[in-house]
């Protein structure tokens, strides 16, 4: 209540009565405690933010409230009624809607049909005899999907899928809306669109529980925030209070560029190692680039490359090269062709025109597995681990088809990966699907490295990961370079990738619009152009790329 008043009058009234109450809620998966003794209240009409690093238990929290998972201990009350023993469909019919982090559309149904499902589920709540499909269409209009209502849901873009998640949750006429990372994977303009949509929903009096990584979204919407870390609630307060909270700062590592020392949060081995590597970052990079930079024949040479998906041309006459030991960043908005570029290099999509040369050899028509054996490793966006296999098995599988002429033994490479990400050694026997997102990304990188590649393609290195984890991943890059591996980095945190890259390519709608050193790119308007459409400053605190980068972390906002 204090929290709400310090920020000052908002557009909506906040009732004093709690709509949702959690008392000592605990959830265990086998021996792992995902949530430990969580208690908090959400008042009617409030918008409560929930933040925390990956693996903190945020999604689990929402699953417990929505009934998708059972509470191990404790109780959840909604408007005075026990929720924790009700099945998910009954909870939904009470008016609790959830939008998932990864959209879960009914892919073979139309957009309208998707929204009709919850409309039907809540049909008894509408006394008037309005047509149900009118209701559904009104919600689609609100979410900006009306013109796509007859499309198959599976064919929508990510932004539209996120809108559909919101639309379906709204169609339940919710009193409480659970939003899970609605801005994850979106960029610039899209984040603002979804933010204003949430604000307008909240303004209609819907109580909202907002789990979010994109800090700008939390700041602009929530007036009270709770922070989770490793299943515990470690702080609660206004966004500003949270940003000053020492424990929160510790969790989020307080670093814009990943150059500050680690905190006691990590285990002994991990701490020592990551601290060391962080300190050694600038020098390692300097040596690796200075030594190999001038070598004239590039390791990878892409000439005049075009790729088509049916009628859509995803890449247009693109030239691209990576030198030995070089780290090259590729930046650009969603749909610019970054992922397609990595897939064309690794042989996962056919090339329509142009050539791909690797170490002087023409590989344009070579199938993917042969390119892998030449030393091209791809870390997919979304990781694509063998989820049911253990960490160790995943790493072994990565080594099955090692690059021809590999100089190291399997044991050496395994040791190298374990030293790079010590947590993988600790969790070697765990199933990969059980790890947190950050650890899974480490497995994915480790698996790619196990083949001893000469070129590592990292597609969306840090997508959806917490800043602390992102720091660890970036800290690993110079060590990977030091092994003589060249890196192509695709990364949504533009400033971060500029900070580590030797050269940067800016893509826009399948074309290279600019290429140069990070400093040249920073000075050039092409970057803003690529992300924001125009270089105009968006509303709110995130007015420049640098500022929006800082906004990713609560500690830097103050």
């Amino acid at each position: 209540m204090q929290a709400a008043s310090t920020v000052g009058g908002g557009p909506q009234q906040t009732d004093e009565a709690p709509l949702l109450v959690l008392r000592h809620v605990t959830r265990r998966f086998g021996g792992v405690t995902a949530l430990n003794d969580i208690s908090f209240e959400v008042r009617s009409g409030e918008l409560l933010g929930v933040i925390g690093p990956n693996g903190a238990g945020k999604s689990t929290l929402l699953s417990l409230i929505s009934g998708a998972q059972r509470v191990s201990e404790g109780e959840i009350l909604f408007a005075g009624q026990r929720l924790d023993r009700l099945p998910a469909h009954a909870i939904a019919r009470l008016g609790i809607g959830r939008a998932h982090q990864i959209p879960r559309p009914f892919g073979r149904m139309t957009v309208l049909q998707n929204v009709l499902i919850p409309v039907h589920a809540r049909r008894n709540e509408t006394p008037g005899r309005r047509s149900l499909s009118d209701d559904a269409e009104e919600i689609l209009r609100l979410c900006g999907l009306l013109d796509r209502k007859d499309r198959q849901a599976g064919s929508l873009t990510l932004l539209d899928l996120k809108r559909l998640e919101l639309a379906r949750a709204l169609a339940l006429k919710p009193r409480l809306l659970l939003l899970d990372e609605v801005a994850a994977g979106l960029v610039g303009q899209e984040i603002e669109e979804i933010t204003s949509l949430i604000a307008s929903i909240h303004a209609r009096g819907v109580t909202i529980l907002l789990v979010e990584h994109v800090q700008a979204v939390v700041r602009s919407l929530a007036r009270r925030v709770i922070v989770l870390d490793w299943g515990r609630k470690i702080a609660e307060g206004t966004p500003d209070e949270i940003a000053r909270h020492p424990e929160v700062i510790a969790v989020y590592l307080g670093s814009e560029q990943g150059e500050q020392p680690s905190t006691p949060a990590a285990t002994g081995a991990e701490r020592g190692d990551s601290t060391r590597s962080r300190h050694s970052l600038p020098s390692a990079r300097a040596t690796s680039t200075a030594a190999v930079r001038p070598s004239p024949p590039p390791l990878l040479d892409v000439q005049n490359l075009s790729v088509d998906y049916g009628k859509l041309r995803a890449l247009r006459s693109l030239d691209f090269s990576v030198g030995e030991g070089e780290i090259v960043a590729v930046v650009g908005a969603n749909g610019a062709g970054k992922t397609t570029l990595t897939q064309a290099i690794s042989g996962l999509v056919p090339v329509s025109e142009g050539h791909v040369l690797f170490a002087g050899q023409e590989i344009t028509r070579l199938p993917a597995h042969q390119r892998a054996r030449l030393g091209i490793a791809l870390c997919h966006e979304g990781r694509r681990l063998f989820r049911e296999q253990t960490v160790r098995e995943n790493l072994e599988l990565g080594a099955v088809y090692a690059t021809r002429g590999a100089t190291t033994t399997f044991a050496q490479r395994l040791e190298r990966v374990y030293n790079l990400f010590p947590v993988l050694r600790e969790r070697a026997g765990s199933r990969a699907g059980r790890l947190s997102g950050g650890q899974q990304q480490m497995v994915a990188i480790g698996r790619a490295l196990m083949a001893e590649p000469r070129l590592l393609l990292l597609d969306e290195l840090s997508l959806g990961l917490a800043p602390a984890v992102v720091d660890q991943l970036f800290a690993a890059l110079p060590r990977i370079l030091a092994w003589g591996i060249s890196v192509v980095l695709i990364e949504q945190h533009v400033q971060r990738s500029l900070a580590v890259a030797d050269r940067v390519y800016v893509l826009e709608r399948g074309r290279v619009v600019f290429c140069g050193t990070p400093d040249q790119v920073r000075a050039h308007p092409a970057l803003q152009q690529a992300y924001l459409g125009v270089a105009a400053a968006p509303a709110g605190p995130a007015s420049s790329p640098a500022a929006s980068e800082q906004e990713q972390y609560p500690v830097s906002g103050t």
């Binding site: 099945p87 998910a88 469909h89 009914f106 039907h120």
Partner: protein, 360 residues
Amino acid sequence: MKTHPASSDQLAPPVTRRQSLRHLAPWLGWGVLGLLVLLAALGPLYLSAFDLVLAFTLFNYMTMAQSWNLLGGYGGQFSLGHSLFVGAGSYTIAVLLLHSGLPLLLDLLLSGLLAAALATLAALLLMRLREAYFSIGSLGLAMAALTWMLNWSFTGATSGLNLPPAATLDYSTLYYLALGLLVVTTLTIVLLVRSPFGLRLMAIRDDQEAAAELGVNSFPVKLVTFAISAFFVGLAGGLIALNKLEIEPDSAFSMNWVITMIIITIIGGIATSTGPLLGAVVFFTLQQVLQNSQALSSLLTGLLLILIIRLAPEGLWPLALKLGRRLGEGLLSRFAHSKQAETVLSAQEAVGGRSRLGER
């Protein structure tokens, strides 16, 4: 919509015509369907007794595939146990005709109801299983039922049962029963999948957890779907017994029934309501043309299945719709200027095929 390089006054009429075609299309589809039903209803007037039996078998294939498709296609519950319901229907009607004095139509109805009751029981066991586990579980139940029937002396164990001579029906009666069942089954399923119930069913198929969080209680939906699917298959099983007059477990509970249903559905188009009808025609024609060389028939059916899964995984009916639509639009845009009445008509027919029965 493609804009033709024509001046605006030339462009206007084809657009409006195309829109009016869109409105006409469903009605045209229903019209074609009505015509087909009428043609079939007059069947005994122009078909030989032999043809009537063939048509009887074809209709039963259609009914069974249609019913399987409700659960397997729209519901995503890939049942391998539907042979159980064919056998249950066959044996129920045989036992009732032998041991009770109830009228034949009531016996038939009861054979469907018993199959539905069995399905409800089976569902209580199986519905907790997902995907492949559900399929294996349903297969296990069907095999258990076959073993049971092979040993149950009340139903004649391995030698089976002979229906009483009084139950012999003439071919046109059997034909009408099978046609009637087909029409009722198809109508029921088409209406069902277009209703909110059908939406819920498809939502569960696509993502059960997400559906639950949107207020869909999956258990009753799946239970009712399973029961309805089994009900119509049981009725078909009853009709098959009435035609064969002697039944024994190995053929009544044969795995071939469910395999046939699945092949027909996949050939015609899974999760479409016209697909199983079209698939049955293709499958049955292949079977009849090559009936003298069983091996070749199986080989070609298998080959066809592989081709369809490779080239048109959605099945023949969606493929035909796609081609028809493209042809229609192509014709429309080519002849837009000349405005020849007859070309518009033929295009109209091509587009009209579009949304006959369940566009899904």
